[in-house]
């Protein structure tokens, strides 16, 4: 008897949020740090994504990538190429990418108008 665990089983139909056209800003300090990180390499871009998890539900995922990622929006922000996955675009529209220069808790920081709260370490939001 079919218990449903085989691949023939029909998945639950789910509706993903509609992608939104993202606009974002990068602070001058963050831009300087990104230019340093790219080290002048051609074709590099910043991938800004969101992963599920973290103390508050979602975690930011920042990566430097050297190719176009699938199903991503490609933005040119003051000369920095940024890619944003459509799947998480509704969570990232309007963000500001900043860089905090301090020994503890420093690094890139996302200021997100969509976030109702963040966890203590600042890596997770809801």
């Amino acid at each position: 008897m079919d218990c449903g665990t085989c691949e023939s089983a029909t998945p639950v139909s789910t509706t993903a949020p509609e992608p939104v056209e993202v606009t974002l800003t990068i602070t001058p300090k963050a831009k300087t740090m990104l230019v340093d990180a790219f080290e002048g390499a051609e074709g590099h871009s910043l991938l800004v994504g969101v992963l599920s998890g973290g103390c508050s539900g979602y975690m930011y995922d920042l990566q430097i990538v050297d190719a176009d990622e699938a199903d991503c929006q490609r933005l040119d922000v003051d000369g920095i190429v940024v890619q944003v996955p459509n799947a998480s675009s509704h969570l990232l529209n309007g963000i500001e990418i900043d860089y905090i220069d301090r020994l503890m808790g420093g690094g890139f920081k996302i200021n997100n108008p969509n976030a109702g709260s963040t966890c203590g370490c600042g890596e997770s939001f809801s």
């Binding site: 079919d2 218990c3 994504g49 969101v50 599920s52 998890g53 103390c55 996955p85 998480s88 809801s126």
Partner: protein, 240 residues
């Protein structure tokens, strides 16, 4: 005396499967307990960011999937929670409830499978979730002869301080308040609600907690289950 041969029909249980290469990590990032290894089973809680319970489930790891057996009171909200957080990951959610039925059987003593693991026994997937309790997921409709959980089940639960969905485990409580503390892993990594639960633990303040004792020892409003003069009660600590 508990009739050892009785299998309780859990008509109130759903079976949901999360399938995909990231299924285990996905569940791990949303729940209080570590996802068991392949062939393992454990109880876990899904909490919101204030650590209130969204769902509790028995998680059975099967290859690149995780099967969740859970009370149906939790299923709609948990599915919504999952869908909001899939974010383009290659994950499928399958509701297998109509194809399977769930039973729980008091089965003490040695015998397969060992605690924390599941085995295929004939058509059934049998998981030991307590020294004296096994959970079975079997294809097909619920057999007529199985009995619904009643007084015998309550007796067993109360004797073993086993929190039940809807009685001790409710959506206005956090896991440390309703006897699920052993299913809140202390160092598994981030999950939603972790900060709140970690703070409660480190300060020794959970506010409320589940106690077992004579019925007469508790205020009537605190009692969540009782049988044979013994009770489970969610009690606010006056020492905190």
């Amino acid at each position: 005396m508990i009739d050892m041969s009785v299998a309780f029909a859990r008509r109130d249980y759903n079976v949901v499967m999360v399938v995909g290469d990231n299924a285990s990590a996905f569940i791990d990032g949303l729940s209080t307990n570590a996802v068991p290894d392949d062939g393992g089973v454990d109880r876990t809680c899904f909490t919101d960011r204030t650590a209130r319970i969204l769902a509790t489930a028995f998680a059975l790891r099967m290859g690149n999937g995780v099967v969740l057996a859970l009370h149906r009171m939790w299923t709609p909200r948990l599915m919504e929670h999952f869908v909001e957080r899939r974010l383009g990951q290659s994950l499928e959610f399958r509701d297998l409830s109509r194809l399977n039925h769930v039973t729980m059987q008091v089965q003490p003593g040695p015998g397969a499978p060992p605690l924390g693991s599941w085995q295929a026994q004939g058509p059934s997937t049998v998981a030991r979730i307590h020294d004296e309790l096994v959970l079975s997921i079997t294809p097909g409709p619920m057999p007529e002869h199985l009995i619904d959980p009643g007084l015998e089940w309550t007796r067993w639960r109360v004797r073993h301080r086993w929190p039940e969905d809807g009685a001790e485990v409710t959506s206005d409580r956090h896991p440390l308040a309703c006897g699920l503390e052993s299913f809140v892993h202390s160092n598994k990594g981030c999950y939603i609600g972790q900060e709140v639960l970690t703070r409660m633990r480190s300060r020794g303040r959970s506010g409320w907690s589940l106690h077992q004792g004579p019925t007469t020892a508790f205020a009537p409003d605190d009692i969540t289950s009782e049988a044979d003069g013994l009770a489970l009660a969610v009690v606010r600590s006056t020492a905190q």
